[in-house]
């Protein structure tokens, strides 16, 4: 099944909105369904080997972080009864459930976004945004932010390599890697911001603000227009429903 970028984007928006408006059990089902998306449509498959590797790595980190979140909530939110003890510390079912709910919502949000960005080249996102009424300067800022995130792993690797070449035993343990990462955070952000600014200037110097589309996108089909409008409408309705519920309660 082929899906155009606009439909994909509005579906992603709907999934993100669902993460915080629908019950967590529905969110859990939707989370499982996000893993089926690449199987159902090539539009959701990672566009390169690098994207596939990034997805695998993210999934691992996300699972670990979710586990940590659930554990911490079970320990710190002392609600309900103690389920069992972990290293002598009691874990409470109230906290455990809260942790599971929060982790589910965050995982649905992050995996929805991840599937979208790993399966959509930046220039296609830019091209779609240029069709909207968003000012070119804002589109440029978004593009530069995406580019920054896209190049970030390679940049971090280069800095790690430079540190290692000066004697830091980066690869000796995970802890050392994390410690080294915090050491480089400030210069990484400083040089990345400066490079992003220069990159934005370079695009401006080539007439980016003239509004020319980055590529000629094929016209949308009737079904994709209907689908994307339906997803957008559903998202708005969910937000509205949530606001009304909050006001009434």
């Amino acid at each position: 099944m082929t899906i155009d970028t606009r439909t994909k984007g509005t579906l992603t928006l709907l999934l993100c909105v669902s993460a915080f408006t629908l019950p967590w059990t529905v969110g859990a089902l939707l989370l499982l369904s996000t893993f089926l998306l690449p199987l159902l449509s090539s539009a959701f498959r990672p566009i390169s080997d690098r994207s596939r590797r990034a997805f695998r790595r993210f999934s691992l980190y996300a699972a670990v972080l979710a586990g940590v979140l659930i554990l911490l909530n079970s320990i710190l939110l002392r609600e309900g009864t103690a389920l069992f003890t972990f290293l002598g510390i009691p874990l409470f079912d109230g906290g455990f459930l809260f942790g599971v709910k929060t982790a589910t919502r965050l995982l649905l949000l992050s995996f929805s976004l991840l599937h979208f960005f790993l399966s959509t080249p930046i220039r296609i996102i830019a091209s779609e945004l240029q069709q909207t009424r968003i000012p070119p300067q804002i589109i440029l800022s978004l593009l530069l932010a995406l580019h920054f995130i896209d190049r970030l792993p390679a940049r971090i690797e280069r800095i790690f390599a430079a540190q290692e070449a000066r004697g830091a035993p980066i690869r000796s343990s995970f802890f050392r890697r994390v410690k080294s990462f915090f050491t480089i955070l400030t210069p990484l952000i400083l040089t990345s911001i400066s490079e992003s600014i220069d990159r934005g200037i370079a695009l401006e110097l080539r007439g980016f603000h003239s509004g020319v589309r980055l590529l000629d996108a094929p016209p949308s089909t009737r079904s994709s227009v209907i689908l994307s409008r339906a997803f957008l409408t559903l998202s708005l309705l969910l937000i509205l429903w949530r606001i009304i519920r909050w006001v009434l309660l």
């Binding site: 830019a126 190049r151 220069d198 200037i201 110097l205 080539r206």
Partner: protein
Amino acid sequence: MGLVVEIRNLVYQYSPHLPNALGGISFNVLPNTCCAILGPTGAGKSTILQAISGILRSHHRQGKAEGVIRIGDVIHQPIPDKSQFPNVGYVLQEPEVHISGLFETVAEEITFTLRTLDVPPTLHADRVRRITDALGLGHLLHRNPTHLSGGETQRVALATILVAEPPILLLDEPTTSLDIHGQMRLYEYLRKIKQTTTLLIAETNIDLALFVADYLVVLEGGQIVFNGTKAEFIQRIADFSSILAATEWHDILKSIANPRTRAEKRLASVLAK
């Protein structure tokens, strides 16, 4: 055809807490000539190029400028307040930033400039081929522009602007990452296009100035310490040896100052062009 660039009493201060980056400089660049701006790091070379290109005003809002810049028939007082592309093409000092990251091949990256100029698509292939042949990029057209070496990146960055064939071209240290081949190719290309383009090149590499430039301006601390023809500069090159990387040229230029042998006369005529 190239346009004239005229700078009159240009003063620029990046912020109230900093000294003037440019302290009232004036010089002209005639159409279809090449002017090389030489000077040590921090002398103000890039500031001049950024002022002419229009990005200085648009990206440093707290900067203060005085003076006048004339580009062709248009007078800007003090400096242009937005990008002057396509009249002015500007290649920044860090070539990596010209690789947008939006395209998967070098050909697409270069073609994007032509799209912004509304050049008819039927002309794209020819224009791209001409510039890539001139810069030796033919074998890289299908490569990913984010996976190139430093020298290759610099040549692609040049191509993204040169393909627009702007009447005024500003280059900021274009030879930094190039090997000798790349440098010679670039000199050849610039010597060819200066017949139809006004060139303004900031450099620390004196070779480019000697092989391509018609006029030279030497900057130090935001002030002009030399402004004249290449012949006049060659006579006085020893005066600037402390601020310019030119020591290897001293003996050469002394030998050909009063050429006697055939080799000396030949080299004198090569440098005089």
